[in-house]
C-alpha cells in the first residue's frame, strides 16, 4: 500500500509547485513587457525580453534613493537587533536576575501587537515628544532603525536565547579564572561560539526589516522612504505603470530570494517564533 506509484506523488507536487511558482513567474512576465503590449490578450509565454522597465527604475533618482534607504535601514536595524539581542540573551542566560523570565516573555509580547495599532502612537510620539529642537525622528533613517526594533529585537532575543544557553557556562568560568574581563569573555569566548545563531538572526531580521511596509509608509515622507513604499506609490487611481511596478517588485524580491537560499531551513522556525519545530 505504501510503496505503490511514487511518481503519482511527484505529479501531485508538480501541480502544487506550479500553483506556487506561477504568480511569481507572472510578475516577471509583466516586468519584461512594454506598456503597449499589456492590454492585449495576456500571453503566458514570454516572447521577447523588454528590459526598459528595469532600466527606468535604476535611472530613477528617487527610487535609487529609496533603495539606498532600504539597504541602510535594514542593515542598521539587523545589526542593532542582533547585537542588543545577543547582549540581552547573555544577561538572561548567565545572571541570576530577579524576574528575568518575566522580562523574557515581556519582550516577546512586544511583537504580538498588530503593527497597525502602532501607527498613530508612534507618529504622535515621533512628531510631538521624541524631538530635540527642530530635529524629530520622523522621516529619518535612524528613526526607522529604532522603530523596527519593536518587532525585530524580540525576534532576535527569542532566536538567540537557545544558542547562548547552549554554550557551556564552564567556558566563561574558566576564562574568568584566568583573569579575563567580562567584555573579553563575551567577545572572545561566547561570541565566536554563537556565530551560526548570530548569522541566522542577522539574516532573518534583515529580511523582515527589508520587507516592512506599513510603518515605513506612515512614518516617512521622503528622506527615509523605502523601496516597499516606493512600490505603493506606483499604484494610483488615475493610472498605474504596471511594468515599473512589476520591476520594482522584482528588485524588492531579489534580496529575499538570496536570503531564502541561505537560511531556508530556519525560516519556518523563525516565522512561528519557535513555537513549532519546523
Amino acid at each position: 500500500m505504501r510503496k505503490n506509484r511514487p511518481w503519482l506523488y511527484s505529479l501531485f507536487w508538480i501541480v502544487v509547485s506550479f500553483l506556487t511558482l506561477f504568480p511569481i513567474y507572472w510578475l516577471f512576465v509583466i516586468s519584461v513587457k512594454p506598456a503597449v503590449d499589456l492590454f492585449s490578450t495576456p500571453d503566458i509565454l514570454i516572447k521577447s525580453f523588454y528590459w526598459q522597465n528595469y532600466i527606468d527604475v535604476l535611472n530613477d533618482r528617487t527610487l535609487r534613493g529609496y533603495m539606498v534607504n532600504s539597504l541602510v535601514i535594514s542593515t542598521g536595524n539587523a545589526v542593532l537587533c542582533t547585537v542588543l539581542g545577543f547582549f540581552a540573551c547573555y544577561a538572561l542566560s548567565r545572571f541570576d536576575m530577579g524576574g528575568k523570565e518575566s522580562i523574557f516573555f515581556w519582550t516577546i509580547t512586544n511583537r504580538m501587537a498588530p503593527p497597525a495599532v502602532f501607527l498613530l502612537p508612534l507618529f504622535l510620539l515621533m512628531t510631538q515628544v521624541y524631538r530635540i529642537g527642530d530635529f524629530s525622528l520622523l522621516d529619518t533613517r535612524i528613526g526607522m532603525i529604532l522603530v523596527y526594533c519593536t518587532f525585530n529585537l524580540p525576534f532576535a532575543i527569542w532566536t538567540l536565547r537557545p544558542t547562548v544557553d547552549g554554550i557551556p557556562k564552564e567556558l566563561d568560568e574558566a576564562a574568568y579564572v584566568d583573569g579575563a574581563s567580562p567584555w573579553k569573555v563575551i567577545t572572545e569566548v561566547v561570541l565566536p561560539l554563537a556565530r551560526p545563531g548570530l548569522a541566522v538572526t542577522l539574516i532573518l531580521t534583515w529580511v523582515f526589516a527589508w520587507n516592512e511596509y506599513l510603518l515605513a509608509a506612515t512614518l516617512t515622507n521622503f528622506n527615509a522612504r523605502t523601496l516597499t513604499t516606493g512600490l505603493s506609490e506606483y499604484v494610483t487611481t488615475t493610472g498605474t505603470e504596471w511594468g515599473i511596478m512589476a520591476a520594482i517588485s522584482v528588485f524588492t524580491l531579489i534580496p529575499a530570494l538570496i536570503v531564502f537560499g541561505l537560511v531556508q531551513k530556519h525560516i519556518v522556525a523563525g516565522l512561528t517564533f519557535g513555537a513549532v519545530k519546523g
Binding site: 536576575m97 521624541y130 567580562p182 516592512e212 516597499t228 536570503v259 519545530k277
Partner: protein, 291 residues
C-alpha cells in the same frame, strides 16, 4: 563571581529601546484617547473629554463593519489553510522523486514581503492585464473584477492569504507527522482499523498540539493582515475588504482627529489581546492541563 549589575547593564539597551518604542507609545496613546484633539481644527488644543471618543468608537458603523469582515477573512483563510496544509503534509509523508526540491519551492512564498504578494496578485487579477480574469472569462464566462465585485475581492484576498501562508501550516504539520512514533499505526492496522478511523482516533489526537499551535500563530498573523490587502484592493470595493488594520491605515491615520484615532488604536489592541487570551485559554491551556 560577578554581580547581577553587569547583567542589568547588558539588558538595559534592549529594555530602553522596547520601552520607548513599544510601551511608551501605548501609554501616550491611552492618554490622548481621553482627549478631544485635532491640531488642524478650529480649536487645536488638547481638551479632556472623558470617554467621548470611546462612545463614538462603539457606535461607529464603519469600524464595526471592518471588525466583521476581519472575522470572516480570518475564519475562511485559517480554516482553508489548515485543511489544505494537512492534506499537503500527508502527501509529503511518502517517498517520491524530487521531494527536496518540492519542499524548497513550497517554502518560497513564506519569505516574500506581504506588499510584494499583494503586488503579484494585483498583477494576476487586474482585468485585461492579469491572467486570471482572462482564463475565467474564456473557460467559464465569468467576469472577475475585484474592483467592482465585493465577493470576488473578498475571495481573492482569502486565496492570496492561502497562497502566502499555507506552506507554513504544511511545514509545521510535516514536522509533527515525522516525529510521530510508528507503533500505534502498525497496531491499528493489525487490528483492522480503516484509514478514517486511524485519522480520527490516532493521527489527529497525536498531532493536536502542533495543530493548535499552528492555528494560534496563523490566527494572530491573519488578524494583522494589512500590506497585501492594501496593495490588492485598497480595502475596497466599498468596504468589502477593509480589514481592521486597513481601516486604521486608510481612515483613522490620515484624519487628523488624533483623539478619536487613538481610541480606535486602543480598542483594536485591547480586542487583539482579548482574542489572544481567549485562544490561549480555549485551545492551548486545556491541552497543557491534560498533559
Amino acid at each position: 563571581m560577578h554581580s547581577t549589575k553587569l547583567g542589568w547593564l547588558l539588558l538595559a539597551p534592549t529594555l530602553l529601546v522596547l520601552f520607548f518604542f513599544g510601551v511608551l507609545p501605548f501609554i501616550y496613546v491611552l492618554y490622548v484617547s481621553f482627549h478631544q484633539w485635532n491640531p488642524f481644527a478650529v480649536n487645536p488644543d488638547m481638551v479632556f473629554n472623558w470617554a467621548e471618543n470611546y462612545r463614538r468608537v462603539v457606535f461607529d458603523a464603519q469600524f464595526l463593519a471592518s471588525l466583521g469582515v476581519t472575522a470572516a477573512f480570518v475564519f475562511f483563510a485559517v480554516i482553508s489553510e489548515l485543511i489544505l496544509g494537512y492534506m499537503l503534509a500527508q502527501a509529503f509523508m511518502k517517498d517520491f522523486p524530487g521531494k527536496a526540491i518540492f519542499r524548497t519551492i513550497h517554502t518560497l512564498p513564506l519569505i516574500m514581503a506581504p506588499i510584494i504578494v499583494g503586488s503579484i496578485w494585483k498583477l494576476m487579477t487586474t482585468p485585461s492585464i492579469g491572467i486570471l480574469p482572462n482564463l475565467l472569462d474564456n473557460w467559464f464566462g465569468y467576469d472577475l473584477n475585484i474592483g467592482q465585485s465585493a465577493i470576488a475581492a473578498f475571495v481573492t484576498t482569502v486565496i492570496m492569504d492561502i497562497w502566502h501562508w499555507t506552506p507554513l501550516v504544511t511545514l509545521t504539520l510535516i514536522a509533527a507527522l515525522v516525529s510521530l512514533p510508528p507503533d500505534p499505526f502498525e497496531q491499528a492496522q493489525i487490528d483492522g482499523a480503516n484509514k478514517r478511523q486511524i485519522f480520527w482516533h490516532i493521527t489527529l489526537p497525536m498531532i493536536r498540539p502542533a495543530i493548535l499551535a499552528t492555528v494560534f500563530i496563523r490566527l494572530m498573523d491573519a488578524l494583522r493582515t494589512v500590506d497585501e490587502v492594501l496593495m490588492l484592493t485598497g480595502g475596497g470595493p466599498g468596504s468589502a475588504t477593509r480589514y481592521v488594520g486597513v481601516h486604521i491605515f486608510k481612515e483613522v491615520f490620515p484624519r487628523t482627529n488624533y483623539g478619536y484615532g487613538s481610541a480606535i488604536s486602543v480598542v483594536v489592541l485591547y480586542l487583539t489581546i482579548v482574542a489572544c487570551w481567549l485562544l490561549y485559554v480555549g485551545l492551548i491551556a486545556p491541552r497543557n492541563k491534560k498533559a
